[in-house]
Subunit: 587 residues, 2 copies
């Protein structure tokens, strides 16, 4: 079935058709700010001394086919995932148990944790947290399987989930190309069964003919607005006008993705926001001395207009997610400064840490091991949790000795688990009970054997991507680093995307590349919640650690498509491209 979809897709183009399509995409991109600032690999610094130039974001010329049932499944899980990560970030003790062995070997994670402890010691003054999330999936379509593909989660992003703005634009562009001037006879695309306008039919396939509407921008913006409203009035005396800060990298090239949000935030919600480069956090923001104001409002002074100050309701991190961004004590001081303020952080440090690969790996544990899903989401029916679980790819810690199977189990009281839970074993990749006991050492075994390593990817715990080790590179890599550092990595079984998928990409340098591709679907969601007090709450039981959800939404998607020769993602870096999807269902 799946192969039938890709048989003649994307439709072949004559040179005239390709020229017209490429020219249309080039112009449409700039007209609608589906754009990035070019890297110095595309335009040298000498040729672009004032940084005025822009170019199209790397995009596919066609939307990629995607199973409607998998897309619907991913959407249907998002609000549960949002709630799960809200619960994780609210449970400091659980997080510490999961992460603590990493703190010994990973300065980045250890420093984040230290900031959390320091602010906890001083006392948090903001108990609300905001997550703008993106849950990323791939389709798993094993060669020997005749059934439909299944959905596997690649990662859950809790900080700086990007491309909501540009992904909406790609969707709009592909829709334009497929329907202008009419869906029956578009001028930019040849007719094709997947566009619903060809006399040829794919007998068992139904398609709606163009990408589904993409609501990423209003969804993410509404999340920011909800937090802004929940913050309430100014805590300064005299009171100040309020704003949201977009914390950005000094050399950001993906700026138009961010501006799509800030512009919509002002247009739809009348909320002003300002861009703050990380290098200027300490110069342009301040917190009044606590002996004058114990509320610790975060005050922003626009460099262009120092006579008027704003109180920051929400700090939206589009920076400071990667270790490489912390280039000295000043960076850490800036992060600490923001964390201790009264502004709602998107994300807080605990939420940032919750997005680590280690948490994702620990969550895959299932009865008879600790059932973390049931613990964090006690009010959800087992079937709902099983749906979530079905998207977990097999993954393993590389701890040299097996962890106690309940090391991260915060709740030895298993009264909420039913008998049926332990028998629910529909996931074909689930290990048997005896295997579970030894799951960590199994990870090492799989990673060191060239044969088994060939089906795996080794991922560092840290955020930001770019350092994954693939397949047979894994054993020599592990052997090249001290064994004590192995626990910084998670081994994940590689997902087997549909092998026949093809597309054509217009890169940011204007080159057009055809070939086999792999796509990754991201679903956007937002969650705002109130934490139970962390400081001073001695002996809090598990119940007291649940977040009170104030806003929980799903909406919008990103499809990133990369050439098969590339193992790494990262659209802004030019390795992969922004895509949208054309849904099909097997009828």
């Amino acid at each position: 079935m799946v192969h039938e979809i890709y048989h003649n897709y994307p439709p072949p183009l004559t040179p005239e058709q390709e020229e017209y399509l490429v020219q249309t995409v080039k112009n449409w991109s700039i007209e609608h700010a589906l754009a990035v600032r070019p890297s110095s690999a595309i335009v040298s610094e000498e040729a672009n001394p004032n940084h005025v130039l822009a170019t199209n974001a790397p995009v596919t010329l066609f939307p990629s086919p995607f199973s409607k049932s998998c897309f619907d499944q991913a959407r249907s899980l998002q609000k549960t995932y949002n709630e799960l990560y809200a619960a994780i970030a609210s449970d400091e003790e659980w997080l510490e148990r999961v992460m603590e062995e990493l703190f010994e070997v990973d300065d980045f994670l250890a420093n984040l944790w230290k900031i959390h402890l320091a602010v906890k010691e001083e006392g948090y003054v903001q108990n609300m947290s905001l997550g703008l999330f993106r849950s990323d999936y791939m389709l798993d379509a094993p060669d020997d399987s005749r059934g439909p593909p299944s959905l596997k989660q690649v990662e859950f992003n809790t900080i700086s989930s990007s491309f909501g703005g540009l992904a909406s634009l790609v969707t709009e562009m592909h829709t334009h190309l497929a329907t202008y001037p009419s869906q029956g006879h578009p001028v930019a695309y040849p007719r094709h069964p997947l566009f619903g306008n060809s006399p040829d039919k794919l007998p068992s396939i139904k398609s709606i003919g163009h990408p589904p509407h993409n609501t990423a921008v209003p969804t993410l913006t509404a999340g920011l607005a909800a937090a802004h409203e929940a913050y309430g009035s100014s805590k300064s005396r005299p009171s100040l006008p309020t704003c949201i800060l977009f914390l950005v990298q000094d050399t950001e090239r993906n700026i138009f993705d961010q501006l799509a949000l800030s512009t919509h935030l002002y247009k739809e919600h009348k909320i002003p926001s300002f861009r703050l480069p990380t290098s200027k956090i300490l110069a342009l923001t301040s917190i009044p001395r606590t002996d004058t104001n114990r509320a610790r409002p975060l005050i922003y002074t626009p460099p262009s207009s120092p006579s008027i100050q704003y109180e920051v309701t929400v700090v939206y991190f589009r920076a400071l997610y990667a270790p490489s961004e912390y280039d000295g004590p000043t960076s850490w001081a800036a992060r600490h400064h923001l964390e201790r303020s009264a502004a709602i952080k998107c994300p807080s440090i605990l939420l940032h840490l919750s997005g680590s690969k280690k948490v994702q790996q620990v969550l895959t544990s299932r009865p008879p091991g600790p059932d973390h899903l049931k613990f964090f989401l006690p009010d959800h029916p087992t079937a709902a949790l099983d749906k979530l679980r079905s998207t977990f790819a097999p993954q393993y810690a590389l701890s040299p000795t097996p962890e106690s199977s309940d090391s991260a189990n915060p709740d030895t009281n298993t009264e909420t688990k039913t008998d049926t839970d332990t028998d629910t074993d529909t996931d074909t990749d689930t290990k048997t009970d005896t295997e579970h006991e030894d799951i960590e050492s199994e990870g090492i075994r799989l990673a060191l054997s060239e044969t088994t390593a060939a089906n795996h990817v080794l991922k560092p715990q840290r955020e930001g991507g770019g350092n994954n080790i693939y397949r047979t590179n894994i054993p020599p890599f592990l052997n090249s680093i001290p064994r004590s550092q192995w626990k910084q990595y998670i081994l994940m079984e590689l997902i087997r995307p549909p092998p026949a998928a093809k597309n054509t990409v217009l890169r940011s340098d204007g080159h057009v590349v055809h070939g086999n591709v792999v796509s990754e679907l991201g679903i956007f969601g937002t969650c705002l919640w109130r934490n139970t007090p962390i400081h001073g709450a001695s002996g809090s039981g598990s119940g007291s650690k649940r977040p009170k959800i104030l806003h929980n939404t799903e909406g919008g998607f990103l499809l990133r498509t990369k050439g098969k020769e590339n193992d790494e993602g990262g659209v802004a870096a030019g390795f992969s491209s922004l895509d949208s999807l054309i849904l099909y269902e097997e009828s």
Copy 2:
């Protein structure tokens, strides 16, 4: 008064303020497609081989102050000007009398005329014409005058009136900068009396604080839509879907200005349009043989989708206005091909010719010379015509011998002229009756004397700009060309713009330039009319030559601002910049 306006404007900026403002403008421009493709002077061909790069259009950082009464006056005249040029373009005989001596010396004008004659001979099959006009003005503020400045027309554009799209965006940007996040405390602009937010006041000045709304895009688009509707249903058998063609230059860099119109045309009016480079007119459009279809519909075949054809309702010329674009017989054949088709031309050749400087100069004639305004607009009250006339700058033909004062007078019957007409002489620059008799030779006298030439500009008849000769360069230039070619030029008294006007420009290469500036206001208007039949109508009287106006609107504006060291316009070429205006009135 006028000097008070410019005294402290634009407001001085600290380095931090300028950096913030420039960065904001750079990003806003790309985010909203206030953009152009960079010239090879900005990015070399080698650095931009696939032509993907874009940069901001050259823009002023601040809107320029402009007298509200002059702005209102310019707007109030537009519909009358539209009607005037519709009437001129409908009167072939009058045009021929005015232009014929130029045909001897100007191949470009002569070839256009030949096409008209050839189509006339075959018989026109389309009697409707569309004008998307822009009437350009400057403020005349003589040093010795203490009164308010007056409005003087620079030219009236009848073909390819550009920058409606980008001008709307500059207006929007300046409004954003002046009002974000609030008009009381913008972050990008310092407070200033002209923004209505400063404790300092200009005692005698009222300002609305931000630029007036700019409706250029909906206005121009509605003009195209009106013509599309008036064209009616397909004249092809079997009938074809209809479209509008945007005729564009092959190497167009001002593309996003054009796309603003075509995108709006589809969004608001559901009318498809396609871009047709001039080099492909003959390859991609055709007219059925007249023995199969006498209606001569213009058929467009999209290169990307040759299986479906469109019938063209309107050909919108954003090209073929300048002699340099006609590089051989094929260009002329293409123009002829379009002119003889049933598509409504925007503009027709007669309307194109009506925009020549010679026509503008002849129109300045007044009683006791021929009163062309009264002739073309017989139903307008004298006061309305005088208002139009008050915007004429003194200008002169350079004919070696005085023309007969009624050489272009189509109507020797002066019964419509009242006695008061000849006495209406409020224009301080108007010549006396005796001077009028010798007006052409006076042009030569003024042009050849270095003293008087210093107050004048010599303009070629042709469209497209770029070849004006200024001030003391005029006498040596005239002496360097054969005297027989002098009649290709019009001598126009230079308008004296407010000398204290200043602004800051962000060029397309990212350089920021401060200095004294000169601004030119363009008012957009559209007119659709039906001509009385030209072919076969023997002995038509003056009455039969009046157009039947079907659509006549005014809306939107362009302010172009250039550094005072530059005498030439042309924003896309980087010499001048796009601006908007901040209106003031003296209270």
